[in-house]
């Protein structure tokens, strides 16, 4: 565990080497191998560290590593006294971050492997650049989760934002991609603003930025159930940060657009890891949030609404990646719902399972897109089951997992969330349940549209004309399709020498299974999607709910006093609607009730599946009829509730208009003032100038004149001739010598 600092630094080294040297010199194989190797190393170290962590007693599962000082101690005013503001480069491994590094390195490693095949058609420089960014992202993400204080976390937080921006805009020649990158970045800025404010407030309130210290200090404060105290404000601002990073209402708009990036990026950053940073951050500050029940309520409501809204939008989208993107937003909403109702462990549990199945789904979709030579529109797919069995099976597993079909991972985590929210607030539960129904529906819609039915895509040449193939091979023609067109067939690199193989590769030969480097990560993630849930089998099913117990220490304050105070506070807050209510509810719902809820949710999922089957398999004409009948609703959903347009009309236009107004103000009022004062200055300067010219200069000139006239004689000595000077030197020496001779 002493070496946990190596976990982030390995990818950093990979990024550095690939970025500095790889872009110029490395072949694809070398840069790919390098990136994968660093991630494999990080994964191995993570596993080792995690196993060591498991070996510790449950109470002592925390390990800090201080790499060095970052900001040296300086005195800053805080709410109570002068605090020493000091920030070390400190990494902390505890159960929460342990789970997170496993997710990040595990999923990250698989996605790296996947990308080696997926990005095969990039030029070597772009390839190295891609892996450099990807490694850099992993570095920052690991810094984020391992950071022991707010500021180190913020470094990771900003870093992943940067990498997200770089990777979304990876194909920066494409305007939509670079625009999406900017959008993501700017939207995140709003969230970061909140985060920074929260951070300032944290330091001002507690005089430290260390998570544990903050948690301990906060644990010692009373729960703000009555009103909106400082803790609530902190939590609210932090939550604003979380909404930005995790794409919650109202800052969710960037995530769907982020799908412009390469699919592995979508899988890693915009599904499995970065977007969950918000959830992680809230969970990391669980103690703080527990002391701000109103904010918890807000979090839960925002999460639930986001889940529902995104799910409804997902119903009607046709772009396979966008469906998945909205699904991600929706699932993130679930996680916030979980944290909002105080079930932090459930949230993190869902985060973990979601990482597996969503990464799986994204990679599967990438495989599909790859097979379709860049086609992303599901309406142009269909019947792909027989062409790409591995992708189909793995994606089916992922879909079942997300739909919540037991015993797959999604079932357990989602059910835990629903259960916890049921205990907390029936209405939230209802939203969750509806969302679950919608989730099952749109996910199966995706599966059915993609893999079932008849093939609706572009036809392909059964036999490629050899000449054309050769020409294509010779010129290295890229497939002239939009979007993901850059990713051509993987076979190119294998069989470029063989004209037939190259011909096969370049004249698109119809959908086909992806190469091993892509399917193997799919299978690995599928296994994860199946088994990850078993960590959290609830007690109602005779499970141990291992993960909840494992994570619990991370959500408590630590000093005995603080714990006591926290307990007292919890007891005192029995009436609060937040965590306390959950505690209360837990005592009140029987095992049978819990089982009933489970059955209900399974039924909901099955209902969704069946509905999807009816709409998109047995009666494929139904969706259009429905869309025609509910034209308004469909348009509303299809255009994502017009949020983008709303923002455009309000925030962006408003900003522009405000800018104009300010500019006008600037020009008229401020410039006028400046001009006026300038005029005044000129007038006074003129007076001053006249004085200067005649009086002061006169004196100076007089002095100069005297010096000039006086120097006229002296400067005769300055001939500029070296020999004259030498002569004078000799004269001097002569004088000394003579003096010596005479005076001695």
């Amino acid at each position: 565990m002493r070496f946990i600092w190596l976990i982030p630094l390995l990818p950093a080294a990979g990024a550095l080497v690939n970025g500095l040297f790889g872009i110029r010199w490395f072949s694809r194989t070398v840069s790919g191998l390098l990136a994968c190797a660093t991630m494999a190393g990080a994964l191995g170290l993570s596993l080792w560290a995690f196993s060591e962590l498991l070996g510790l007693p449950a109470d002592a599962r925390v390990h800090d590593v201080v790499l060095g000082h970052w900001i040296p101690p300086m005195a800053l005013q805080t709410a109570h006294d002068i605090g020493m503001f000091q920030v070390p480069w400190q990494f902390r491994l505890d159960p929460l971050s342990g789970v997170m590094i496993l997710v990040v390195t595990g999923v990250g490693f698989l996605i790296h492997v996947y990308s080696t095949a997926y990005m095969k058609d990039e030029a070597p420089g772009g390839y190295a650049r891609f892996f450099s960014y990807l490694n850099l992202f992993c570095f920052f993400m690991l810094v984020l989760v391992l950071g022991a204080n707010f500021l180190v976390m913020f470094v990771g937080w900003e870093g992943v934002g940067l990498c997200s921006y770089l990777l979304i805009g990876f194909w920066y020649e494409k305007k939509s991609a670079s625009d999406a990158g900017k959008k993501a970045f700017i939207t995140n800025r709003i969230g970061d603003w909140g985060f920074i404010l929260g951070m300032f407030l944290v330091f001002f309130t507690f005089g430290t930025l260390d998570f544990r210290a903050v948690a301990d200090a906060a644990g010692a404060m009373p729960i703000e159930s009555a009103g909106f105290g400082v803790l609530s404000i902190i939590c609210l601002t932090l939550f604003i940060g979380a909404t930005g990073k995790s794409a919650q209402i109202p800052l969710h708009v960037w995530l769907p657009d982020a799908m412009e990036g390469p699919t592995p990026v979508s899988a890693l950053i915009h599904a499995a890891t970065m977007v969950t940073a918000g959830v992680y951050m809230v969970a990391r500050n669980a103690v703080l949030f527990q002391h701000a029940p109103h904010v918890m309520q807000i979090v839960a409501i925002v999460g639930a609404l986001t889940a529902l809204m995104a799910a409804t939008i997902g119903l009607v989208q046709n772009d396979i990646k966008r469906v998945l993107a909205y699904s991600t937003v929706s699932q993130l909403g679930y996680m916030f719902l979980a944290t909002g109702v105080g079930a932090f462990a459930a949230g993190i549990f869902h985060l973990m399972t979601h990482a597996f199945f969503k990464a799986l789904l994204f990679l599967g979709s990438g495989s599909v897109i790859h097979a379709m030579a860049g086609e992303q529109d599901m309406q142009k797919m269909g019947g792909l089951r027989k062409y790409m069995p591995v992708t189909f099976v793995t994606m089916m597993i992922g879909t079942l997992a997300i739909a919540g079909i037991p015993p797959l991972a999604g079932f357990f985590s989602k059910d835990e969330i629903l259960y916890q929210s049921f205990l907390n607030n029936r209405f939230l539960w209802l939203i969750g349940a509806v969302t679950a129904l919608l989730t099952a529906f749109y996910m199966f819609r995706l599966i059915l549209l993609t893999f079932y039915g008849t093939y609706r895509g572009a036809p392909w040449a059964r036999v490629a004309a050899p000449a054309a193939a050769m020409e294509a091979a010779a010129h290295g023609v890229r497939h002239p399709l939009d979007g993901q067109a850059q990713k051509d067939d993987h076979e190119v690199s294998h069989g470029a020498a063989d004209v037939r193989a190259a011909g096969h590769a370049h004249a698109w030969h119809g959908p086909h299974e992806s190469p091993r480097a892509m399917t193997v990560p799919l299978m690995a993630l599928a296994v994860g999607a199946i088994v990850a849930g078993f960590l959290g089998i609830p007690q109602a099913l005779k499970g141990a709910n291992t993960i909840e117990h494992f994570l619990a220490p991370s959500f408590e304050s630590h000093t005995a006093a603080a714990r006591e105070a926290g307990a007292g506070a919890a007891a005192g807050a029995e009436h609060g609607p937040g965590a306390a209510a959950a505690e209360e509810g837990a005592h009140h719902l029987s095992t049978a009730g819990e089982l009933g809820l489970m059955v209900l949710s399974v039924l909901i999922a099955v209902a969704g599946v069946l509905a999807a089957r009816r709409f998109y398999f047995t009666h494929p004409e139904l969706p259009d009829r429905l869309a025609a009948r509910w034209r308004g609703a469909h348009a509303l959903l299809f255009n994502k509730y017009y949020v983008d347009e709303l923002y455009d009309a309000t925030a962006i236009k408003g900003t522009v208009a405000g800018g104009r107004g300010l500019w006008t103000f600037d020009r008229v009022v401020i410039d006028g003032a400046v001009d006026g004062s300038g005029w005044l200055t000129r007038v006074s300067a003129w007076g001053s100038h006249m004085f200067d010219k005649h009086v002061v200069d006169g004196l100076v000139n007089l002095v100069g004149w005297i010096a000039e006239e006086g120097s006229f004689f002296v400067r005769r000595l300055q001939t500029g001739l070296v020999q004259n000077y030498a002569l004078l030197m000799v004269v001097g020496v002569f004088a000394f010598l003579t003096l010596y001779l005479v005076a001695r």
Partner: protein, 172 residues
């Protein structure tokens, strides 16, 4: 006896070549006389028991520095030397006279000193002669007590080298 003959011969040569250096019209001849002068000075060093210095004199001065002079003289290769131009300031005569007087003065001082009773310095000279000029001693001094000046000198040479390259380069 032998030493005296050698010394006076060498001194005559040194001064004679020196005069020629200072007076010769042709620059190349000047350089040649300078080399001869240096070689004689090297022999003086040998007489003074400073063999290493003598070798350095020949190797660096005669073999290196003066080659540079010759090189430049040949490159410049003037048709009409600047000394043909009239000396407008008549300072050469002044300089000449001054130098002569100073020489007389110094010689006077030296003769006077020699005539004085032996000082501590002279007493030291009375001790039996031993070879002090051998290479090992110089080397030891250079690399121990005078290491810093030595390094400074090498740095100076490096700087001079770079500077000379920059100066002589056509376009930088």
């Amino acid at each position: 006896m032998f030493e005296s003959i050698l010394f006076y011969t060498l001194a005559a040569f040194i001064l004679g070549f020196g005069v020629l250096v200072v007076t010769a019209r042709n620059t190349v001849h000047c350089v040649v006389f300078l080399v001869a002068n240096f070689l004689c000075v090297a022999m003086i060093y040998v007489m003074l028991g400073a063999e290493f210095l003598a070798i350095i004199q020949v190797l660096v001065y005669a073999g290196g520095i003066v080659v540079l002079y010759l090189f430049v003289v040949m490159l410049v290769n003037l048709k009409r030397g600047p000394d043909a131009a009239p000396d407008r300031r008549r300072q050469s005569r002044v300089g000449f006279v001054l130098a002569a007087v100073m020489l007389a003065e110094i010689s006077a001082i030296l003769v006077y000193s020699a005539a004085r009773p032996a000082s501590a310095v002279a007493a030291a000279a009375a001790t039996p002669l031993q070879t002090v000029g051998n290479t090992e001693v110089v080397g030891m001094l250079l690399y121990t007590d005078y290491l810093i000046p030595f390094e400074v000198a090498s740095m100076l040479l490096l700087v001079a080298m770079i500077g000379a390259i920059l100066l002589a380069k056509k376009e930088i």
